[in-house]
């Protein structure tokens, strides 16, 4: 066995969570350490995708396809097919073996009060005209400042395509969100991979080794987000690597590099988390009631995501599961049931041989 084990941290009870006795779920402060890396490994990196500033340009999708030489596919993942989804501007449709970034597009409207003119900002739910509070913390970085000063400026709000008024009685907004592999703290795909093709990198990301994968397909239904998929003509599975090749050369992932609005932010995970918390506070302060972070909470069912999001509506509206749980959390109980079942078979057969001959 190599020093860097492709086995997941689960089931070893020696130095796991003192409460649960294992590391199949819950917060994991040092994922790389748990995977067997020495303490001098690089910091865990991630994506913070701030959908409130996404303009749906799909530069991330294009950059990803170009850099990773992903084949063309239609909105259902059929390779080399050119097809329109017929549902919106989103013709990528989903994440899959050939699409590692997917910009979701949702057009929403709501009724507004006629006599009161409303000028909304992204997700603005304010009904009064009070001055926006800007509780940016002093340690806010330049990215955050740029976003709050330009994109939320009062003067821009009425031209903002995300909240433009169409007609007099309803308000329209466009939600756009660039989805990607979440690089979970407890990654179902990694847990169930029987060959060790999926492994945890020194950056804390989850990557498939193409020369090991034998196409068993177990990771595909194990992912609670529906990210990883099999390329049928190839036989193996593929997903976002967070540009592992670029990271090892000190470059940012292609999508984050290409994003023109800094909706996709790449960096050390703890730094991104602080930035996201500040951004959420800013939006809340401006009255954007529906803003929420997704995948930020380390107490969630997957121990938090390496790639997390700021959303303006419920996760399922964007095609994300509202409360994902890594399937292996329940594995000890399943093994117990299977062992009992196996014992029942042996017991029943043995007792069938006892007694009357016939």
């Amino acid at each position: 066995m190599t020093a860097v084990s492709s086995a997941s941290p689960g089931l070893s009870k020696d130095h796991g969570d003192p409460v649960t006795g294992n590391r199949l779920y819950g917060p994991l402060p040092d994922v790389q350490g748990e995977a067997g890396y020495e303490t001098d490994h690089p910091a865990r990196v991630g994506f913070f995708t701030d959908t409130s500033v996404c303009i749906g340009c799909k530069a991330c999708e294009v950059a990803c396809k170009e850099w990773n030489t992903l084949p063309m596919d239609d909105s259902h993942g059929t390779r080399d097919a050119l097809g329109l989804s017929g549902m919106s501007y989103d013709n990528t449709g989903q994440l899959g073996a050939n699409s590692w970034r997917h910009v979701a597009f949702i057009e929403q409207s709501r009724a507004v009060d006629l006599p009161m003119p409303v000028f909304g900002r992204p997700g603005d739910d304010r009904q009064d005209a009070g001055q926006p509070v800007n509780p940016i913390s002093p340690q806010a970085d330049s990215t955050l400042n740029a976003q709050t000063s330009v994109l939320n400026a009062e003067s821009l709000s009425q031209f903002d395509p995300q909240t433009g008024q169409s007609g007099s009685d309803k308000q329209i907004r466009w939600l756009m969100s660039s989805d990607v592999c979440k690089h979970c703290t407890h990654a179902g795909c990694l847990d169930v991979c029987p060959t060790g093709a999926l492994f945890r990198t020194e950056f804390g990301t989850v990557v498939v080794q193409g020369d090991i994968c034998n196409g068993c397909g177990y990771c595909v239904p194990a992912c609670p987000y529906g990210v990883i998929d099999k390329r049928e003509d190839d036989g193996r599975v593929f997903k976002c690597t967070m540009c592992y090749d670029r990271l090892t050369d000190g470059l940012q992932p292609a999508c984050a590099t290409a994003c023109p609005t800094q909706s996709i932010q790449f960096g050390d995970l703890d730094e991104l988390q602080a930035r996201a918390d500040a951004r959420l506070a800013t939006l809340k302060g401006q009255g954007v009631e529906t803003a929420r972070l997704y995948g930020r909470d380390e107490d969630d069912g997957v121990g938090g995501n390496g790639a997390f999001f700021l959303l303006l509506d419920e996760p399922e509206v964007y095609g994300l599961p509202p409360d994902p749980i890594v399937t292996t959390r329940d594995l000890p109980s399943m093994w117990k049931a299977a062992a009992t079942g196996a014992a029942v078979i042996v017991g029943v057969v043995a007792s069938a041989f006892v007694g009357r001959r016939r």
Binding site: D191, V192, C216, Y218, S333, S351
Partner: protein
């Protein structure tokens, strides 16, 4: 409120969860099979927002698309593998015990059943791989978190032991030994050791027989597929019962009645266990149990139940006649095949429809939020929402 027109005042927006936003456009494609309510407050303005109050009727999704990916496993190869693994697993235990209780015909038939079933299992499993030539990569690591890894370490020795036992049985036949001796001239000199080797192999196989039959239930339960994951504590017992019905049934059908007594008992116990366990799978998990009743899965499982119950009836009443044993065994095996196929189809259906992913998760989330709200001493669910998020 009067007939909804879509332009109700937005004054309620701040108190509406989600601030009243909903997907634009006439028919809401994001909510398939939604029951339209008339005059339901807010027109098309607040549909999914009231999902909190009526979770089983409404939910949001991204244009009705599935959230998780459907398993890429081949059908019918994989459900057949589950069936064969179960039948072979049970047969191997029957074979080993028959060896030592003076039932030579039952031992022979059970060992052949186990050997053939195990070898076919290996073929089916390798055939299901996207890169079959890399089958041995399964054995480059051992991961208790991967049921397929554990399963590879069950199937490998199991198929080795069962095919050894069955192979030695074949070599004990004079013409086969003569033929084999042409390739391996030393074989006849080993003939004296054959019975001992065979019995040792049968015991080795039996040690892996039980796990072989039940690990496949963990294989499917340990996924994000809602209708497979939710009944994760019951599926191993369904598989155990189905495996006993199949293994007992097949060995009963092949064996003269005076030796087939244990097979009959195993088959009948298996039916009882399977029916009890699958009842809980089909009824104990709310909306996630639904796919077990609908469409192809529902048809298969109803047919499976008819075969299984019929097979058990024939076995109990006519099992002591040769014809009854054969008919009962065939019915039980058919029932077991269709049970596995029905469970497979139910999982596929639950993966395809986002409601089976979203609604249980939303219920779980809202229960947690309500609990947090109760702890925080407030009964306003919207307070709870922001507290938890």
């Amino acid at each position: 409120m009067t007939e909804s027109t879509g332009n109700e005042p937005a004054g309620q927006a701040p108190v509406t969860p989600g601030a009243g936003w909903h997907r634009a456009g006439g028919e809401d494609l994001t909510r398939p099979r939604r029951k339209r309510r008339r005059g339901g407050g807010g027109g098309w303005g607040s549909g999914n927002r009231e999902a909190a109050m009526v979770p089983e009727a409404e939910f949001s999704s991204y244009y009705g698309r599935q959230i998780i990916k459907s398993p890429t496993w081949k059908n019918p190869e994989v459900p057949l593998y589950f069936f064969l693994g179960g039948a072979a697993g049970t047969s191997s235990v029957i074979g080993a015990l028959a060896e030592f209780t003076g039932r030579p015909k039952l031992a022979r038939n059970a060992e052949y059943t186990a050997g053939i079933g195990a070898l076919a299992s290996v073929v089916l499993l390798i055939d299901d791989l996207g890169r079959p030539e890399r089958f041995l990569h399964m054995l480059r690591v051992f991961k208790p978190t991967s049921p397929l890894s554990v399963g590879s370490y069950i199937l490998s020795p199991f198929s080795a032991f069962t095919s050894a036992a069955a192979g030695i049985r074949l070599l004990e036949l004079e013409p086969v030994l003569r033929l084999a001796a042409k390739a391996l001239p030393f074989l006849p000199s080993l003939a004296g050791a054959f019975p001992a080797l065979r019995k040792a192999s049968a015991v080795g196989a039996a040690a892996f027989g039980g796990p072989m039959a039940t690990y496949t239930a963990v294989l499917i339960a340990n996924t994000a597929v809602p209708s497979w994951h939710a009944p994760h504590d019951e599926l191993p017992f369904v598989f155990a019962g189905s495996a006993m019905a199949a293994g007992g049934g097949i060995t009963m059908a092949l064996t003269p009645v005076d030796e087939a007594g244990p097979s009959r008992k195993v088959a009948l116990s298996g039916v009882a266990l399977e029916l009890a366990a699958i009842h809980r799978v089909e009824h104990g998990h709310g909306i996630v149990s639904e796919p077990y009743h609908l469409g192809k899965a529902g048809k298969l499982l109803r047919a499976a139940k008819a075969c299984t119950v019929g097979g058990a009836g024939v076995t109990a009443l006519l099992g002591r006649t040769r014809a009854g044993g054969v008919l009962g065994g065939l019915l039980l095996a058919a029932g077991s095949v269709m049970t596995r196929m029905g469970i497979f189809e139910a999982g596929m259906a639950s993966a395809k429809d986002p409601k089976y992913t979203v609604i249980p998760q939303r219920e779980r989330l809202e229960a947690r939020q309500a609990e947090a709200a109760a702890r925080a001493g407030t009964d306003d669910p919207h307070e709870a929402r922001s507290v938890v998020r």
